[in-house]
Subunit: 361 residues, 2 copies
């Protein structure tokens, strides 16, 4: 299949594996790239040293194009009183799991725009595609990446963000629908302005900008891929669909939730990380829902969320793990990534053939 | 185009015009049915006499199949104190428009399940297709309608509702995505369990039940129609796309909002009617958002909302009108309904041909 994106990325099939930090391992990304799609590494939670190691591991497993994803949020304004109060909110849960509540929350991740070490690794390793979430790279960074030949893409969740990305020199945008799993790419509050679904967002964005559009959100199989192409997208990005793959970094409990009934109930929540992200509803999401107004912001909230998730996991419960998943997670299937890629291509062609038969009538 | 729905409804093209109460006139429905689709009349706000008159007007304009839509909500539990408090909340706005605040809120619409006069009109006039929103008809009513040969369909917003509709004997379901304009069909609280988007909901429902699925929400043109068919739907239901048609009952200001930038911002709100419904954000939605917890329930809230909308309209402002619209309203186009039907068919075929060319490569 040829589209503007397969040409732009120099890949064979317009399927991108989403850069899920912690879940998208170099092995997963390499398998997807080797199968003709675009594998991605998510560096939202990595420092320069870890980024370098992941890129080198990936490069040993494939010589195909891949995508390196970075977060470009503004530096947070700290509120010590709010952070201390949030730790008090988490304390009863930490106590439940016999774990010590952290003394303080930390700004555990730096924005790509604020971290020169991250930039230097990228300039040294030269990933062919670099993608951004939560905003756009600075003009200086955009120029530096373009200078070595990088193709740049960013997530958008409404029309204004799409127009801003095109104006900033992005080569393509990922139109991330409301149904997508994980963190919303919405740049600014009110975050509700980015709650636009894939079905509405993709044609609105395709109509408004000239650069190619990658559809993300709710796509799990060939029906979804064909639907996204029908909407005018030149490629699709699938995250949840790749989580149960053998090569992913997901814990067994996460896989079990995705493959069972728990996958049917997801929710946008801010209580895990401090920014809105779609997750399977577990005790973390459910029991802290009413305290969402009190979260201290990203990524400090995530520091607490990770401590609680780890404490609960140590006692054998996945009910406080961040189980990012999209609304169509109920369609999850477990297999090797190379097998899934083959199946997705087969299903897409079957769906297009079914549609072709409809116009024959 | 032939699908299970064109066979079931005996129509030529799998496009249904949504039953928008107040906006879907007999002229609009007749134009859509005469063009080969399925025109619909929305009787959520009508008594038996009005229903009879509309059906007879429609019948004079077409002999093709049409759809009559009814609401099947449970009778509301009244809360006089809450209703009185809500009138106090509306009072400053009523004062702004020099209008008298109503003394009380009324249960202005009856559920089809509770109104024997409505049932009798349907049994007398025998609309070929009868559709339901907010729930399912009682078993007795289901049997009575099937006895004259009616085809029955109902709106669903999650997998559990789809399975319940199939088990209750519905002949097809309308999978109404989160992006859809107007009232959500979600039956029970928490309404958030019905916030599933078209892209996620349609394949989940198609996988789970055997009866045909009609996709609704975010579909405005041939790209959306082709996408819905790719997802496995056997037809589409479009509401917002038909509002700017010459034959609709929409006021000029509503049309202007749909055709301009105001169409880009919609929101699910309960403050207009008491149930969640997607509308263009105007002063009504914006200035009462924070009072949503205080609404007295449907349809009493709607009684107040209509009084306020009328008072504001009398002073020349559309800022308190209920401007139901889906998230893709920014793709609205103004033309006759017959022209729009032709265009939708043409665009759908063009999109399917574009997709066909992709697998040739």
């Amino acid at each position: 299949m040829k589209t503007r994106i397969t040409e732009l990325f120099d890949i064979n099939t317009p399927i991108i594996q989403a850069p899920m930090a912690g879940t998208a391992t170099p092995a997963l990304a390499a398998a997807v790239s080797n199968a003709g799609g675009l594998g991605s590494l998510g560096f939202g939670a990595a420092n320069a040293e870890q980024v370098l190691e992941s890129m080198q591991t990936l490069r040993q497993a494939t010589n195909k194009p891949y995508n390196a994803n970075f977060l470009v949020h503004d530096r947070p304004v700290r509120d010590p009183a709010k952070e201390a109060a949030w730790l008090e909110t988490l304390k009863p849960f930490m106590d439940e799991f016999d774990a010590e509540t952290p003394k303080a929350l930390n700004e555990i991740y730096m924005s790509f725009n604020a971290d020169d070490d991250l930039l230097q690794v990228v300039l040294d390793e030269r990933p062919p595609i670099v993608s951004f979430h939560f905003g756009l790279p600075t003009p200086e960074r955009t120029d530096a990446l373009k200078a070595y030949g990088a193709t740049l893409i960013s997530s958008v969740t409404n029309l204004a963000e799409a127009e801003a990305a095109a104006a900033a020199g992005m080569d393509a945008v990922i139109a991330q629908g409301f149904e997508a799993g994980g963190h919303r790419g919405t740049v600014e509050e009110p975050f509700e302005d980015g709650h636009v679904t894939t079905m509405a967002l993709v044609p609105l964005v395709v109509n408004a900008i000239d650069i190619p559009v990658i559809a993300a959100g709710g796509i799990m199989n060939g029906n979804g891929i064909a639907a996204a192409l029908a909407l005018g997208a030149d490629a699709v990005q699938l995250g949840t669909a790749f989580i149960p793959c053998a090569e992913s970094g997901a814990p067994d409990t996460y896989r079990q939730f995705l493959l069972g009934d728990r996958a049917l109930r997801t929710e946008l929540t801010t209580v895990i990380s401090g920014r809105p992200a779609r997750a399977i509803v577990n005790r973390f999401v459910d029991e802290l829902r009413d305290r969402a107004d009190e979260v201290p912001g990203y990524p400090m909230t995530y520091d607490g969320g990770k401590a609680l998730g780890a404490a609960a996991a140590a006692k054998g419960t996945p009910e406080f793990a961040p189980m990012w998943a999209g609304q169509a997670a109920g369609l999850s299937r477990a297999m090797d990534a190379s097998k899934l890629m083959q199946l997705l291509e087969y299903e897409t062609k079957q769906t297009l053939a079914m549609l072709r038969d409809k116009i024959k009538d």
